[in-house]
Symmetry: C2
Subunit: 415 residues, 2 copies
């Protein structure tokens, strides 16, 4: 026996998700239901390795350690990582108690390394995929699912790390029921439909810079939201029925209904942001131009006897997410890039559709009003990320994809 620590490592990736309805909780108001689409990890993902470390001599108690994108961060007591770790340890302890033959590893120190493959500038909340990957990785490390722990239970724990992370524990189309228990124990995400139910839903993320925004004095959203007469009406009278309609549209793969409800929900979310005191603005002139472009694309399509070809949705920022069916995605991309041109670098064309980053190579639809917005300069939309609906967390091979080395230390550290 050597003095070397024994390192056992597990590695998982987890996806980002795009939500409806639930966004209002960023305004600290509960809604009854929310929906989300999980996006493919082929393009956007958090990758996490976790290892527990056994030493011959455990006289010292080394702490848990965490590296995010190559930089060590403190695992703060009461913080979201520590909360999830504690919950996962508790589950492992239960499993160990019920299975006396199992190794007692719940108390061993843990090293965690996590990386996102998308830049912060993409405006995508990394906490959903990051906390989801953490929980999936610890579940794998602790072999919890082999011992009967459900994805639903893991989703409940991920939620305690970051609300939206509970949704990234599932692939496809996901609902988050808020539950009725004061302790949130029945507030979990459930699958509405797997990605395979409606697999041809693509997403175009238009990353919009907001240089002109300055640093507004945020006067506390909770307080300002208390001033919106419309918000309460939305939450109580509008959102629940809309979530039901979107669920029905997903079940029926009815893109036209899906698109209309998605856009209406996005518009109304930003409307109530404007109706607060002082008003909250997330959309800027480029966001507005994207909306006008999608409106015109849909108007032309509806005039031609077809339904909507694209749907926009905006979270708490100027970036657009456009949903498009696979059959329309090359055409819609070509028009989007015509008005918001990209370089080969800012639009890498991961699906190899052969769409020119400068756009405008195809014909515009019949009756399309070319003057709907001006053609913007390179950079007005900083990048276009093309992805699609995808599956839930993936367990990967630590020997090839693991982020920790044989000592339990991160392989890549920021200099």
């Amino acid at each position: 026996m050597s003095d070397q620590p024994y390192v056992f490592q597990a590695t998982c990736s987890a996806p980002v998700n795009i939500a409806w309805g639930k966004r209002d909780t960023s305004l600290i108001l509960p809604t009854n239901s929310s929906l989300s689409v999980t996006l493919s990890q082929d393009h956007l993902r958090s990758l996490t390795s976790a290892a527990y470390i056994t030493r011959k001599q455990l006289g010292t108690f080394p702490p848990d350690r965490l590296w995010l994108n190559g930089e060590e961060e403190e695992v703060k007591e009461g913080g979201r990582t520590a909360r999830c770790l504690a919950e996962m340890r508790r589950l492992r302890e239960q499993v160990e108690a019920a299975n006396p033959s199992l190794q007692k590893i719940a108390s061993y120190p843990i090293h965690i390394a996590s990386e996102n493959n998308f830049p912060t500038a993409a405006g995508l909340a990394s906490s959903a995929s990051g906390l989801s990957a953490l929980v999936a990785t610890l579940a794998s490390l602790y072999a919890l699912q082999d011992h009967g722990v459900s994805t639903s239970e893991l989703s409940r724990i991920a939620r305690q790390g970051s609300g939206s992370a509970c949704r990234s524990m599932f692939g496809g189309y996901v609902a988050w029921e808020m539950g009725s228990q004061a302790d949130g124990s029945d507030s979990v995400a459930v699958e509405v439909a797997p990605a395979s139910h409606w697999p041809d839903l693509h997403a175009l993320i238009l990353v919009v810079s907001d240089k002109k925004k300055g640093t507004p004095s945020t006067a506390g959203m909770q307080r300002t939201v208390a001033t919106s007469a419309l918000l309460e009406h939305r939450i109580r009278d509008v959102v629940p029925a809309r979530m039901e309609r979107i669920t029905r549209a997903i079940h029926a793969r009815d893109f036209d209904a899906f698109a209309r409800e998605t856009m209406a929900d996005s518009n109304q979310f930003h409307a109530v942001c404007l109706d607060t005191e002082p008003p909250i603005f997330y959309l800027n002139d480029v966001s507005r131009a994207v909306i006008q472009l999608v409106t015109e694309l849909n108007r032309a399509s509806v005039a031609a006897g077809k339904g909507c070809v694209a749907a926009y949705t905006y979270d708490a920022g100027p970036n657009a997410v456009l949903y498009v069916q696979e059959k329309d995605v090359a055409h819609v991309l070509d028009v989007v890039l015509r008005y918001f041109p990209q370089s080969a670098e800012s639009f890498p064309d991961p699906f190899q559709l052969g769409v020119d980053p400068a756009g405008g190579k195809g014909a515009l639809p019949e009756g399309f009003n070319e003057a709907v917005i001006p053609r913007h300069e390179l950079g007005a939309v900083a990048r276009v990320i093309h992805t699609m609906v995808g599956d839930g967390p993936r367990t990967l091979d630590s020997s090839t994809e693991g982020l920790l080395d044989g000592e339990g230390m991160p392989k890549r550290v920021k200099q």
Copy 2:
């Protein structure tokens, strides 16, 4: 006797007005009440002369003629000028019938010349002041008020030319009650308080260009508004109580309450515009920056134990109207011009306050966050018009201010 026509001319000016609540009728939905402030004709006005023409031989029937800003326009049958003319002639006929000694002039052809002293680019609806000036001028020409016709009755006629014109028939603070009669006969404006009740209310109009807007395909506002769940709630549950609170604030000269209600109403109006399908955007990034600047000015003032120093309101466009009390106007202007600099031409300083058009000569208030928005370039706000609350239509001396010559023809014609 010569063959020369006899020309009798009257000349009036009328003001523009800025409204709350009533803006929603641009979305073709009636509200119970709306309020407005009439702005001073010293800075913004429509000037109108009208003449009736008597000829020895009336064998030919010369038509009514109209010149707007020096260009002749047809007096279209059923158009708003023709409607107002017909109503005013009807009143004159009644007066003539009741007073047999009066000259029978109601049937004589009329020549009208009208000019606005503000450019279309100012984004101010010229129809309110224009139709109000037309009605005031015809009332003067026909001596109707000498024969007991009330301003209220004239306001009812101006409304038939242009809804908002009924408000410009009064100075100061005005309410427009929608009335309950199907024919609109009880839909008239009434004075809430004269300008002299609260005479130190200044208005800064920030004219914002919207070059990037393109030509969106307006899909018919009526139809789109039918899709907003929030609009109905606003109209029914929010606006009536707010109009009462603004009226109370005007009566009490309570600027802080006035400002808060004004800004909340503007925000909510634009919120419901966004909540339509497809969404309607009037505010752009510059409008948004002005809102953030006013929010910060007020935050600093409230933090210093004082109330709001400025209130913004936006109609169906990106231009801001800021209300400021006289005591604060030099200070607020200095900060506004610091962030949205002007030239001597685009900010002529009509009150001779000595404020530098480039702004920023005075100190910022204690605790003001300088980074709230970036300092914009010259031209982001195209011009700043400084005016204040003012009186209703004025009857002027046609011999010095009349727009028609001795032949009843316009003195100034566009070449």
